[in-house]
């Protein structure tokens, strides 16, 4: 087969590139073939992009594969008018954290409190009346209509974000950028269903992930560390110096008790009751002290990796460093704030380095210092290089490639564009072993199917819904901080496989009214010429004789397309 030759040749190509800063030395390292065959182009499109649209293989051949990859590494140079105009329908995407809080989350929080008080009063009333039966029913169902409407409004922020994610993945010309947004969001995973995380997702993806996927890792790490989404998801917003927190609470307790016990203070029985209730409240909310969750995942998942050489002691020390990194009013869309009162000002030792403690606002500098140390640690370089190589090359990436990419990381101060480039232009990327080596994740499958059929996304909801239910990979819905697995074993199971075939059937059957596939122009008939063309543009002509036989039997164009998209060949990239 022709693709078997692609990896063997280390081609040193001379091609014209728009970007002049691209050093000549890096160019000569490139293993991108100058005259690639269709399987090689398909391979690149399946990795750099979410698979080919009709005609993409020819387009890339015409512009040159190396030029295509380089252009994708510079998304800022690629116009994207179709997506720009589609996204204009979702104004929440561009609203600031403050605008979102003002419009949605603060009013919702105010109403929630108001509602709680009302319910408490009603409960007291029914208690007096002794009416037990009235207590029945679901509290959700008793919500006043205006509150339900407000909730729906607020929920639209997340729905818009999901729509946008799908539309961009399918239609954006900046395909590598979208692939990387998915990759880095998953690396810094947060879960929409935990508490108020959903209120922060829009700004999290837009402001902490998107700007940096081809930037410097340290910048993304910092933006994530400051994001309310991550602070809430991994509980750091509650993490406080146990001494400091208790001291404050104890002072309050003492104050109240002194007042209650002072015979000269005139305290009415009502005031006494109130004070007792307040006392109970303060005791209940007594800070629990240090929370290590963020500190642990920061090292295990975000930077060093599980065998990256840190100890449980390091986890505790890093947790102390990040005390005070919290959210100003976490219920109500509040923003990041550093609270010196929660911060542990003592000296810490992290990975053998002494971090001097600071009182007051300077305490925040300790966290920045630790992020600096972690970002440029050799274990981090290796961890990031491994994950990227796994995404772009194979489930078990060659160690030589990982080492090379890790060296690029360290040499470029963690420049993710250069690390990504090193992988996408490596001989390993173009090796026979990498060809169709990966199974698409459900997201990659659904998006690539929509692209392969040139589907027009009017409303992305059917894809969002399929991912949430039958395909089993809900957007923003991965519970553990480690994120979705990207390897085949996680996604190939009986139910999920059938779900893919059914998704293919639905997509081309135009049962998904919100998503249109123009079947007549894509497949006017089931003739051999049509089949050859489709197999060529979707799978570079390479299918098994068995798959070919099923296509030849297809009674109509819809079934022909479904058999292509549901085939084992299409599940791979």
């Amino acid at each position: 087969m022709s693709h078997r030759t692609i990896g063997a040749i280390a081609v040193f190509v001379a091609f014209t590139l728009a970007s002049q800063w691209h050093a000549a030395a890096q160019k000569s390292d490139s293993a991108v073939p100058s005259d690639p065959d269709a399987p090689t182009i398909l391979h690149a499109l399946n990795r750099v992009a979410y698979g080919p649209r009709p005609g993409d293989i020819d387009r890339v051949r015409a512009m040159g594969l190396a030029a295509y990859i380089d252009q994708q590494l510079h998304p800022e140079t690629i116009p994207d008018p179709a997506v720009d105009s589609a996204l204009a329908a979702f104004p929440t995407l561009t609203m600031s954290e403050e605008q979102l809080a003002e419009k949605y989350y603060r009013p919702l929080e105010a109403m929630r409190r108001d509602q709680q008080q009302k319910q408490a009063k009603a409960a007291a009333k029914t208690a007096k009346a002794g009416d037990v039966a009235a207590a029945a029913g679901d509290p959700q169902a008793q919500l006043p209509p205006e509150m339900r409407a407000m909730r729906q409004d607020a929920a639209s922020v997340l729905q818009n974000l999901m729509q946008a994610r799908i539309i961009r993945a399918v239609d954006s010309e900046r395909q590598l950028n979208e692939v990387l947004v998915d990759f880095w969001f998953n690396h810094f995973n947060v879960y929409a269903q935990k508490g108020v995380v959903n209120e922060y997702l829009n700004t999290y993806e837009r402001d902490a992930i998107r700007p940096y996927v081809l930037g410097h890792f340290r910048d993304m790490l910092g933006a994530v560390a400051h994001s309310p989404a991550m602070l809430f998801y991994l509980d750091n917003f509650q993490s406080a110096d146990p001494q400091m927190g208790r001291r404050g609470a104890n002072q309050q307790v003492e104050q109240i008790e002194r007042r209650l016990n002072n015979p000269r203070a005139r305290v009415t029985p009502e005031q006494r009751e109130q004070a007792m209730a307040r006392l109970e409240q303060v005791k209940k909310n007594m800070p629990r002290g240090l929370n290590e969750n963020y500190a642990r995942e920061l090292m295990e998942l975000h930077t060093l990796g599980v065998d990256g050489g840190y100890t449980q002691k390091d986890v505790q020390e890093v947790a102390r460093v990040f005390t005070g990194w919290t959210i100003d009013q976490p219920r109500g869309g509040g923003r990041f704030i550093f609270r010196p009162a929660m911060h542990d000002p003592g000296t810490k030792v992290v990975l053998g380095q002494t971090i001097a403690g600071h009182e007051g606002v300077d305490g925040m500098r300790e966290g920045e210092r630790v992020l600096d140390i972690l970002a440029m640690h050799p274990s981090t370089a290796k961890h990031i290089a491994f994950e990227l190589a796994q995404r772009f090359v194979s489930d078990t990436p060659p160690p030589t490639l990982v080492d090379r990419a890790a060296n690029v990381y360290l040499a470029t101060n963690g420049d993710l564009r250069e690390v990504t480039r090193a992988i996408l232009t490596s001989p390993e990327f173009f090796s026979v072993d990498a060809y169709r080596a990966n199974v698409k994740t459900p997201l990659e499958f659904a998006i690539s199917a929509a692209r392969a059929t040139g589907a027009k996304i009017l409303v992305a909801a059917p894809i969002v819904q399929a991912l949430r239910t039958s395909l089993g990979m809900p957007l923003y819905g991965c519970q553990p901080p480690i994120g979705y697995k990207t390897t085949a074993d996680a996604w190939v199971n009986t139910g999920a496989l059938l779900a893919r075939m059914n998704f293919a059937l639905q997509l081309v059957g135009n049962q998904q009214r919100a998503i249109r596939v123009d079947v007549p122009s894509l497949a006017p008939d089931t003739s051999e010429a049509t089949r050859t063309r489709l197999v060529g543009q979707m799978l570079a002509g390479q299918i098994s004789s068995s798959t070919s036989a099923t296509l030849a039997k297809a009674p109509n164009p819809q079934q022909l397309l479904a058999l292509l998209l549901g085939s084992p060949e299409f599940q791979k990239r």
Binding site: D138, R436, T469, S470, G472, N502, L505
Partner: protein
């Protein structure tokens, strides 16, 4: 017996449709092997265990719950007595009978060593089976399945009656999620049969081994179910009446799967609505309505299974219990220890297991919640080693050494 009839008719049906006979051989062997089945049920949202299994012999119980306490046995809407100290919620009366027949055991004051009162974290920990460790990727049930992979396993070895695979079943061992067993398969209208055959031949020739074997499993499973679905709507045995609810429907389908001898070993179902912060109710009301559905579904399953319960154990769990004191809204807030139920033929029932810590303030966890005296993993350990065939739980509950032997399963 039902299962024999199915095997005969099912076999004929499959042969008539020209399906591969090797599966039938497997199924017959499976039937002979008398598989043990574990049915796990998650009450999501933290059920109030003190209202399910009521310590009516505790003075603190009524002191702390003036409006939501369930009255003593004999009173109107009072508890049904279990052992002179504990009673079961009146809406769960159908299960009291099982307790007295020694087929239902309770473990009270059971839960997680982790202090979290977050639903999210606590459910995660109970399903991953690793309290306090967030990065665990697979679930405890899957680790059991993986540790005991065997050649006789069918695609129906582990089935969740949910839309998505629950956390406890996620991992390397195969497991199926299907909310409706009648909807499992290729859905192509009138073309379903040909499309299915076409996809099957594609996957039989797949270059990728994982896709090839999984594809085969998938189509084998579809064919096996076809036999079940072709037999027409399922009729429960012994006059069992399942409630018309999501949970009742799930339990009914689990019974159908077990009786169809498809090789089921682990089943999962769930039901929510337990987060009763406001207007919880007592013998009647919000919680009572949920318990009614819960208990009637379980009782119907038990009746429907009949003698089949000799090989089946059902366990119920919830992420944590609720605070001892009722709150200002006649509800309860998030707490700690809770009650688990274990029922089935192999169960040494009729007993409330676990050390009862008492409800006096100084005996509570953090002065407010029912303390945990039994780690939930101690219960799970007995399920997988005594009922199922795990030799050790070292890989199923990494880092955990069982702290006590309860003897729920002898």
């Amino acid at each position: 017996m039902n299962r024999r009839i199915f095997l005969k008719n099912g076999t004929m049906a499959m042969l008539a449709l020209g399906f591969a006979p090797q599966f039938i051989t497997k199924t017959v062997q499976a039937a002979r092997a008398r598989r043990k089945v574990l049915v796990t049920i998650f009450q999501r949202g933290a059920v109030d265990g003190l209202s399910m299994i009521v310590p009516y012999g505790e003075e603190w119980y009524y002191k702390t719950r003036p409006s939501i306490g369930i009255p003593k046995p004999g009173a109107e809407t009072g508890v049904v007595d279990l052992d002179g100290f504990f009673g079961i919620h009146p809406k769960m009366a159908p299960l009291a009978e099982l307790f007295h027949r020694h087929e239902l055991a309770i473990v009270h004051a059971c839960g997680s060593p982790d202090p979290t009162r977050s639903h999210f974290d606590a459910q995660d920990y109970m399903e991953s089976g690793t309290p306090g460790v967030k990065s665990t990727r697979d679930g405890w049930l899957n680790r059991y399945l993986h540790a005991r992979e065997h050649a006789d396993a069918t695609p129906f070895r582990a089935v969740s009656l949910t839309q998505q695979l629950p956390r406890s079943l996620q991992g390397p061992a195969p497991a199926l999620a299907m909310a409706q067993i009648s909807r499992f398969g290729i859905q192509a209208g009138r073309q379903t049969d040909t499309m299915q055959a076409d996809f099957e031949s594609q996957y039989a020739a797949a270059a990728d081994q994982l896709l090839g074997t999984t594809g085969k499993e998938a189509f084998d499973a579809v064919k096996m179910l076809k036999g079940v679905n072709a037999a027409g709507p399922y009729t429960p045995a012994n006059g069992a009446e399942y409630p018309r609810s999501g949970f009742g429907d799930a339990m009914k389908q689990i019974a159908e799967l077990i009786k169809s001898d498809l090789g089921l070993e682990v089943a999962f179902a769930e039901l929510g609505g337990w987060d009763t912060h406001v207007q919880q109710g007592n013998g009647n009301g919000q919680l009572a309505n949920r318990l009614d559905d819960f208990a009637r579904s379980l009782a119907a399953f038990y009746a429907d299974m009949g003698e089949g319960m000799a090989d089946v154990v059902v366990v119920t769990m919830s992420e944590f219990g609720r605070a001892v004191n009722e709150n200002g809204n006649r509800g309860t807030d998030h707490g700690h220890g809770n009650a688990m139920m274990i029922m089935g033929g192999p169960v040494k029932g009729g007993k409330v297991y676990g050390k009862w810590p008492g409800l006096a303030p100084e005996r509570r966890y953090e002065n407010r919640d029912l303390a945990v005296t039994t780690d939930f993993r101690d219960v799970f350990t007995e399920l997988v080693t005594k009922h199922l065939d795990a030799q050790t739980t070292a890989t199923i509950f990494p880092g955990f050494t069982p702290t006590q032997r309860l003897g729920i399963l002898g």
